[in-house]
Amino acid sequence: MIDYWPLLGIVLVVIGFALRFNPLLVVAVAAIATGLLGGMPFLKVLGVLGHGFNESRYVSIIWIVLPVIGLLERYGLQERARTLIVNMRGATTGRLLLVYLGLRQILAALGLTSVMGQAQTVRPLVAPMAVAAAEKQHGELDEDTGERVKAMSAATDNIGLFFGEDIFIAIGSILLIQGAFAGFGIQLTPFQLSVWAIPTAICAFMIHGARLLLLDRKLGVRR
C-alpha cells in the first residue's frame, strides 16, 4: 500500500507558486504540511526544517560578491561592458553568447564551476554586453525583446554549467552516482562515468548554440 499523503505538500507548492503567493511563505507552509502528513509531530518537523536550513547556508554564500559588483557598477562597469561590445566589429548577441557557452562548458569541465555565474559574470558583464550587441543589430529594443535577450544570457550560463560540469571527475553529481551504484554492488570509477557526460555536452553546445544563432537572425542580422 503506497502512502500518498506526503505528496500533498508537493501539490501545495505547485498551487502556491501558480497563484503567485510569496514563494518563501509557500515553501515554509508546504514543509510543515508535508512533515505533519508524513506522520511527524510539529516540533520534529520544525527541527528537521531548521536543521536543513542551517546545513544549507553555503547555498547563500554567493551573495558576498554583491558589494564588489555593486561598487563597480557605481563606477560605470555596465556602461563599460556595453561600450566594449559596441566598438567590437562583428559582435552579435548570438555569437557573444555562443563564446560564453563554450567557455562556461570548458571551465566547468575542468571543475571550475564557481568561476563564472549569474552574480559573478552574467549580471555585471554578459547581460549588458548581450543587450548592447542586440541594440547594435536591431536598433532600440522593445521591452519583450530586451527581456528575452537578458533571459537568454542567464539561460546560457545555466546550460553551459549543467552540461559541462559532469565531465569533471570530482564533481558532486558524479560522486553521487558512484556512491548510489556502489550501494547496489555495481563498482564504477568516476572516470568511467564522466566520459559518458561528453556526448551530452557536445549535443548541448550544438542545440543551444543553434538557438543562439537563430536569435541573431530574429534580431535582424544580415549575413
Binding site: 558576498i64 528575452r148 545555466n158
Partner: protein, 318 residues
C-alpha cells in the same frame, strides 16, 4: 584550517551591513521589514550552530512570515546617475573590468595552485570548501583593490551591495529555503512514495519504453525536488539498477551518467531550482519571474530527447 565557518562569519558580516543599512534608509517605505529579514539571516550565519534545530526552524518560519506579509521593499536612492556613471566609465575605461575579474581569477588560479601543489596536504583549507573559500578570498582582494584605486566612501560597497540585494529581495534566500524543504521531503518519505508509484507503472518487455519512464521519471522528480541529486538515488533504485542494468543488461556507466543528465533537463524547467531559474530573473530585473525558465524550455526538451537517444543507443549496444 579555513572551512565553511569562516565564510559564514564573512557572509554574516555582509548581511549585517545590509540589515543596518536598511534600518537607516528613509527612502525605503518598509525599512524595518528589510532590516529584520537580513538581521535574521545574519543571526543564522553567525549563530546558527548555537540556536538548535527548533530555534533555526522558528527562524525559517519568521523569514517566511516577513516575506509573506509583504514587509520587504527597496529604497529609491541612486548613488550615481547614468551621466555620472558614463563619465566614470570614460575615465577608468577597460581597467574597470580588472577588479571584477579578480574574483574568478583568484578562484581559478587558487584552485589550481591548491590542488596541484603540496599546499593541499598542509590542510590549510577544508577540501570540501576549497572553491568557495577562494571565491571569498577573491572578494576580499577585489574589495581592497577598489578601496585603494577608486577611493570610494568607506560604506559605499555595502550601500551598493544592499542596492543589489534589495532588487533580489526574498529570492536571495529561496534556494536555501528549498534545500531545507528537500530535507523535510526526505524525512517524510516523499522519495519512497514516488519510487513506489514509478515502480508500479513500468511497462514490460520493451526496453525503449522503460528508458522513457526512467528519463521522464528523473525529469519529473527533479522538477518537484528542484535538483537531480535527490531524484537520482530514488530512480536508480526503482528502475535504473533492477530493470535497465540487471534485467535488460544495460551499460551501468551510461545508465548512471546520462540518467543524471536527463534530470538536469528537469532542473532547467522548474521554479524549485530557484538559484538557477528564479534568482537570475530577479538579479537581471526581469518583469516575468519565469522568464529564464521560458528561455530554457526549448533547449531542455531537445536535450532530453538527446539524452534518451544516448541512453537507448549507447546503453544497450548488442
Amino acid at each position: 584550517m579555513i572551512n565553511y565557518t569562516w565564510l559564514y562569519v564573512l557572509a554574516g558580516a555582509i548581511f549585517a551591513s545590509f540589515a543596518i543599512g536598511s534600518a537607516m534608509d528613509r527612502t525605503n517605505p518598509r525599512r524595518f521589514g528589510n532590516a529584520a529579514f537580513w538581521g535574521l539571516l545574519t543571526a543564522s550565519f553567525w549563530f546558527g550552530d548555537f540556536l538548535g534545530d527548533i530555534g533555526n526552524g522558528v527562524l525559517v518560519l519568521a523569514l517566511g512570515a516577513i516575506a509573506g506579509a509583504h514587509l520587504l521593499s527597496r529604497g529609491s536612492k541612486e548613488s550615481t546617475t547614468v551621466r555620472e556613471r558614463e563619465r566614470f566609465s570614460e575615465r577608468y575605461r577597460n581597467r574597470l573590468f580588472l577588479p571584477a575579474l579578480i574574483i574568478p581569477f583568484t578562484a581559478f588560479v587558487g584552485t589550481l595552485l591548491f590542488n596541484y601543489t603540496p599546499l593541499k596536504v598542509t590542510g590549510l583549507i577544508d577540501l570540501k570548501a576549497t572553491t568557495l573559500v577562494l571565491l571569498g578570498l577573491g572578494v576580499i582582494i577585489a574589495l581592497l583593490t577598489c578601496y585603494v584605486w577608486l577611493k570610494p566612501p568607506l560604506t559605499a560597497p555595502f550601500e551598493e551591495g544592499r542596492r543589489l540585494m534589495d532588487s533580489i529581495g526574498w529570492a536571495g534566500v529561496l534556494p536555501q529555503m528549498l534545500a531545507s524543504l528537500g530535507a523535510v521531503f526526505a524525512a517524510a518519505g516523499v522519495g519512497t512514495t514516488i519510487g513506489a508509484i514509478v515502480g508500479a507503472i513500468i511497462p514490460q518487455g520493451n526496453i525503449f519504453l522503460v528508458v522513457l519512464v526512467y528519463a521522464f521519471g528523473m525529469v519529473a522528480f527533479t522538477m518537484i525536488m528542484g535538483n537531480a541529486f535527490a531524484a537520482f538515488p530514488v530512480m536508480a533504485a526503482a528502475i535504473g539498477v533492477p530493470i535497465l542494468i540487471h534485467q535488460d543488461g544495460g551499460n551501468p556507466a551510461v545508465i548512471g551518467a546520462v540518467g543524471m543528465l536527463a534530470g538536469f533537463c528537469g532542473t532547467l524547467m522548474t521554479p524549485m531550482a530557484a538559484n538557477f531559474n528564479i534568482v537570475p530573473a530577479a538579479l537581471l530585473e526581469l518583469k516575468n519571474q519565469y522568464g529564464v525558465i521560458k528561455a530554457q524550455v526549448p533547449t531542455a526538451l531537445a536535450m532530453l530527447a538527446a539524452n534518451i537517444a544516448i541512453l537507448y543507443f549507447a546503453g544497450f549496444r548488442p
